[in-house]
Structures are given as C-alpha cells and as structure tokens.
Symmetry: C2
Subunit: 440 residues, 2 copies
C-alpha cells in the first residue's frame, strides 16, 4: 500500500527537565536507591516487550535506553506511580497513563507504536501482567442489558463528535478502496456497493441488518437496490439519527429502524447483513447469532458478516477493551465458524480487507487531528488523548497484521442459485447509483 | 448452474423376478415369519433415512414402498444377508452390496442418490450404525507408513485407468470453469492459472508443491510462470509418470519430483501450494502441516491450499473411507484453520468452488461411462460398480451441498505486499500461456 504518513503528532510536547549532575545524584542517596529498583523493573519490562528502540526519560530527567542511536521516540514518565503501574501491565496502563498525560511521547506517535508493535513478542502481549490482574480482566459480558451498556459507552458519546472525522455518510467501519488513493467518501460508497453486490440484492427483497450504525447501509440498500430493510441497533443516539435521515430522504416507508438487540430479530428475510457488529457480540454468543440467522433467513437467502478479526484467538488488548470498546472481542476465522457450522451454512467467500482498514484509519486519524480544536472543546484532555491513541493504535495493528478485517459471505448448504464465479463483483456496474433501482 | 444431466445409468439392469401370488405366500409360512421381522427392520431403516421415494424389491419379488407413485428408482435386494447388512449400516453397506451386485438400482443412479441425499437427515447420516460399529470405524491413520499405504490404495491402481476419464493433463482435482459450459480440458488449465495467479508467481521464484499428483500443476508453473518447483508425492506411479512428462517437455531442469511425504519438505520457498492433498492429511496432522509451511515459507511467501471441505466436521462416509479413500477426512473451515492459526498466518481469501466440483464430476462420470468397456477389461465387475457409485455419489454430494471445495490463500501476518483487491484475478491475462514467462 502507499505509505501516506499522517502528520507527526505531539512533536511539540517537551517538558522542562533538569538533568542532574553526577555530584547531585550522590546527595540524593535515598531517592537513588528506590530508583535502582525502579530502573531494574523498567529494564525487565523493556526486555519482556522486546526492547523497542525508544529512549525513556524519567521524572528526574534521567534517560534510559538500550538504543542510544536510532530511537524512534522519547517516552517521558512523569512520576514514580506511573512507572510502577506501567511495569505491572504495559498493555493496559500505557494507554491509561498516556491519556492522563502522566506518560508522554515525543516523536511521531505512529512510528513509536509501530516500533513497539514490531518487537513486542505476541506471546508476551497476551500474557504480561494477565496473571496478576486476571480477576479484573473479565470482558464485560454481552448479555442483553450488558450489551446495551457496552454499546452505549462507545456509540452514544455524541453524533457531533463522530461527524468530525467520519465520512459524510457516517460509516464507522472499514471502507473499500478500489484504489489506495480513492477518497474516503467514495471508498465508503464502494464498500456499501461491494456488500450489496456480494448479497446479490434484488428489488423488492427484504433485508435484515443486525447492528446498523447510523443507518448508511440501510439507506444505501433501500435507495439504490430497491429493497426493504429491518435495521436493528441498540444505540439510541444512532437509531434516532438514522430515523431522521430516512425521513429526510423519503425512505422511511422502506426502512424500519428498530431499537433492539439482534437476538430479538423476528421475521423472514432474503438477506442477512451485519457490518461491524460481530466484534461486540462475544464468541460465547456466536451459536445464538447463528440460530437467529437460521431462524430468519429464507431457504434461498444470502448472508454477509463483516467484522474485525484476528489470525488466532486472543482477547482484545486490555486498554481498548476497558476504555474504548467494553465487551469487544474480535474473533479468529475458526471462531467465526461457530456461527455457521452448527447450522450447516456454506461459507461461499471470505475476503480479508486488512490494509483497507489501515487506509480507513489513516483517513480517520488525519481528520481527527485536523479537527482537534473542536474535539478539545467537546471533551477533556484525557478523552482527546485516549481517542488519538485508539485510532493510532488500531491503524498500527491493521498495518502490521495484528488485526484483520473479514467479509464472510454465506448461504444455506443446498442453495444452488449462487454466482458461478466472483467475476461479476469486478465488472463495472452497468448503471450509476441512483439509476440502478430495478435494473440489477 | 446449468443442469446438464449425464446419461442415465443402469437403465438396463433388471433381474428375472417371479412375483409370488398371495396363495403362494401362505405355503411359505416359515419364510414369511422371518420376512415380517426383516420387513420391520427395513421399514425402520427407511424411516431413519427419511423415507426416500424408492420402491424396494426383495429376493422373493415382494415390493415394499411408502411411495406407491413417483418413486425415482427400484432397489433390488437379492438376498437375505444383503438386507440384514443394509439395515445395520446403510451408509457403509449400501456401497459394498451395490458393488457386489447383491443390491441393484433400476433407474437413474444419480436421481436415486439425489433423492436419498435430499431426505436423509444429516444427523442420522453421521450416527446410524456408528455406535454399533464404532470399533471398526477408525479411520486408517496417516502416520508416515500409514499415509503411504493409504495413498497407494487409491492412486497406484494404474495410470491407464485414470487416463480413461481425466482430462489430457491428468488433473484429478476440481476444475475451474470460467463458464459452466467450458470444456474439461480448458477448465483444468483455467484452474491451474487461477491457482498460479492467486499465488502471484514471479519468474525465478521457488515453489514447493505438497502432493503433486501426476505433475500437471508443477509442469504448468514451470512452463508458464518461469518458476522452479520441488514437487512432493508419495504415490510412486504418479511420480514416475510426472518425471517422464517433465523430461519429455524439457522441464526436468526446473522441476524436481520427490517421492516423499510432505512432512519431509526441506528448503525455503517463495510459495507453498497443495491441491487436493489435505483430504488425505487427517485433521490430527494439521498443526504438523502448519509447522512444515512455517518452516519452509520465506517471509514474503504466499500459500494456497485447495481441498474438499465440509460445512461442519464429520467423518467421510464410511463406505468411501473404507473402499475408495482410506484415511481420507475432508475438513470444515474451522478445522482447516488449525493449519494457520498456531503460526499466525493470515488467511487472505477463501473461495468455495462447490458447484465447479459438481461440474467436474459430471465430466468425469460421463467419460467413465463412455469408456466403461475399457474399464471392464481392466478390472472386475465389483470395481467397475464401486467406482461408478463413488463418482456418482461425489457428484450428488457436491450438487446438494454435502461437500464443499475450499481454496484458501494465505501469507504471513506482517506481509504487506499483498494484492490491494482481487480485481486482478478477473482481468484478462495480458499474454497467452506460453508467452507469459517473464511478462508477469
């Protein structure tokens, strides 16, 4: 992919540090003694995470690094408490301390995250600190009320905030860039079309959408593919917004936005689609989701699930799960199969769009930084920094293969009205959007 | 797909049956008493397999059917022993008894198999008789010597036999039909190209092929993509044939055919490919296969595994496993992931070519029937019937969704030189085969 770097972040951050002379150090015997232990813990942690090429600067100005040359960033640890938390569980506490400005990064945040990502052994990423903190690591469970709380935490923080950095249609999932330099607005439209074409929607068909966000896909399907849509979502802010849009666009006769859980889907449909909801379902509930699909999909129905995924099962990183996406747990492909296998669904196609999500996140992060003044007016400094880290960290994970994006297309086992090849997905659409209704 | 029916089979089969008059029955009191029990067992079996619309004719001419009208076939059971075996385990013994001509089918064999397939409850297919016969159901294990025995059983029965009904290149795996009416020769070339393009082979690269059959893919890769190939196979007849072909085509400098197990692959390669071997590996050995790939694939390497698969894990049907493919066990997608997940491989693309295998089998079965005279000269009647049933049964399973064909493309997690979209697979190749070398 084209390496379009976002603007360096936090270049300006630098404290006012007094570097202590060796003579001074001797006068602080007690402080230095503690410091020796702390340095040892820090060195141990650095080894455990693979010795990333960074320089650490402590609150007294002392610099620590195994890489005197070629460090990608300086990490300032501003107080002893921050250091002690960090060494206990860097995966969880780096984000917390960074958000609270008790740790700061001097240099390009993305370069820093990428450097850490490259060397951090995966086994350690999964284990470090987990044993100590196991009791606190329970992912917040996605029971019916639990799911509502979890979704509210992330999606109900204000539509105006998301408007600042999403595309104009407010699509908060991986876009599809026909070319790497397609702009974000077009790439989101291309994604909506890619999904609709994989589902082979026909005018007059009934579609159920589980987890419909701000309604962009439902609106697109109704407007350009002539289908009726039952769109479920448990985020009340999103549903209110989506209903308003459908009304404005005169599509409220074709789309019903239902503020309810996917488990309560009722009716029979020609297509089931879910874009970016599975991450919040929890692997424990996959069989339940499969049963919902089995119940509501007609014999000749088609389905598509689009979700962040992993190369192998592991929990979401602790900080993101705790502070950004409570209850979230992206699946491996084998885990995803727990939705399909018990019900004899045939997986027809899996497409991994990992680099498309990296590109999407580059756009989002760029827009976020471009609107940082507005974000700062809306939220406190901690929030601003946490979301910067979340966007930059996600971008790094997609770019480095730590996260995947799977689009899985499926149908019932004995359904033979399936495309002979995938060629049709790559042929130009015969009519432009807006004139397509009825021509497909 | 287009429903091109192969010619009806076994139309001519009909015995010389004397239908007994009711008065006659009374004179056979002892026979009828036994018969009542047998009828009960038969009725029970028919219920268990979903009451397919067939008429059964017993050795004394008595007809049994729940469907007086619209039966698709007549099944003749020629002796009491055959009936008793059949009711114990229809999945295993139907094939055995059919091959031995102790059971015969009057009507179109494919229509009969399809009718049975449609009504036979999947749960029963997996369980019926299995408990009773569990000790005998152990799949022949694919240890190093076990795998050799298993492969020898199927692939070393004579190249001349396979030549009768495969395409001219001797490709004994699912073809890829750009259109349903592409002929078999072209569809096999299209498959070889589809695989090479998914692997993005570049001239001068080194490819390892695990399970190379009669060498068609190795020859194609070397000739048209300019790569060198190390091709492994444990079927000695196939290896001898493949070496001869490479020599004839002047490609022996580019291809090494190695008569050895995939577990003994050594060296480093730009691409790993395996077409139709995984079915014989056994799920117990998937992690071992993953370790082989992990060991031999370069950092920027690409991989492709093409295999028959299932919508959910279950053993191969007992008759096929015992008499046709000892040790074979097609995986579900979740099971296949056991190859990739432990080694952090990224699955980039999964394509399900189920209907292409049905179409391939239609061609094979047609050619088999067209050459039935030659087959009869080579083998005994039992073999001829067993292979007819195997080809027809496989065709039915692919057509009805009982079996899948998965092509899985993968790479290492942090390998970003991956195609931006799959568009390139569906663009016309710029140069025809034979002139392509060096231009890709």
């Amino acid at each position: 992919m084209r390496q379009e770097r976002v603007e360096p972040l936090s270049k300006a951050i630098s404290g006012d540090f007094n570097y202590l002379a060796p003579a001074e150090e001797q006068r602080q015997a007690f402080g230095n003694m503690v410091f020796a232990t702390e340095k040892m813990l820090l060195a141990r942690m650095m080894r455990a995470i693979g010795n990333p090429p960074v320089q650490i600067v402590l609150w007294n100005g002392q610099k620590i690094s195994n890489h005197d040359e070629n460090t990608v960033a300086r990490i300032f640890i501003h107080d002893r408490g921050a250091l002690l938390k960090l060494v206990t569980d860097p995966e969880l506490y780096f984000g917390e301390l960074y958000s609270a400005q008790r740790i700061e990064v001097q240099g390009d945040l993305l370069d820093f995250l990428e450097a850490v990502y490259r060397v951090w052994p995966l086994a350690t990423q999964d284990k470090i600190g987990k044993k100590l903190l196991a009791p606190f690591y329970d992912v917040r469970r996605n029971t019916l009320p639990g799911a509502r709380r979890n979704i509210h935490h992330h999606y109900d923080i204000g539509n105006d905030f998301y408007k600042l950095w999403l595309d104009e249609r407010m699509v908060y999932t991986c876009a599809y860039f026909p070319n790497p330099d397609t702009n974000l607005e077009d790439a989101q439209i291309a994604k909506l079309d890619h999904v609709c074409r994989k589902l082979r929607l026909q005018p007059g068909e009934k579609v159920v959408e589980a987890g419909c966000g701000w309604g962009a896909l439902a609106l697109h399907m109704a407007k350009h593919y002539g289908v009726t849509v039952a769109a479920y979502n448990i985020s009340s802010e999103q549903v209110a917004f989506a209903r308003q849009r459908a009304h404005t666009e005169g599509l409220d006769g074709q789309i019903e936005f239902i503020e309810d859980d996917y488990r309560n889907v009722r009716g029979e449909f020609d297509a089931f689609v879910s874009i970016g909801m599975l991450e919040h379902v929890g692997t424990d509930h996959y069989r339940e989701l499969g049963a919902v699909i089995d119940r509501c999909l007609k014999d000749n129905g088609r389905g598509l699930i689009h979700s962040i995924g992993l190369n192998y099962p592991r929990p979401m990183d602790a900080w993101t799960e705790r502070h950004i996406f409570p209850g979230a747990c992206p699946p491996s492909l084998a885990q995803m199969m727990q939705i399909f296998e018990p019900f004899d669904f045939s997986v027809l196609d899996v497409e991994n769009l990992r680099l498309h999500y990296a590109r999407t996140l580059e756009h989002w992060l760029q827009r976020y930084e471009n609107n940082i003044g507005r974000v700062t007016e809306m939220f406190d400094a901690k929030f601003v920094r946490a979301w910067r880290l979340y966007l930059a960290g996600s971008l790094t994970a997609f770019k480095n293969g730590g996260m995947q994006l799977f689009q899985v297309t499926f149908a019932r086992a004995d359904h033979n009205q399936i495309p002979w090849t995938r060629q049709y997905l790559y042929e130009p659409q015969r009519t432009p959007p807006g004139e397509r209704h009825g021509n497909l």
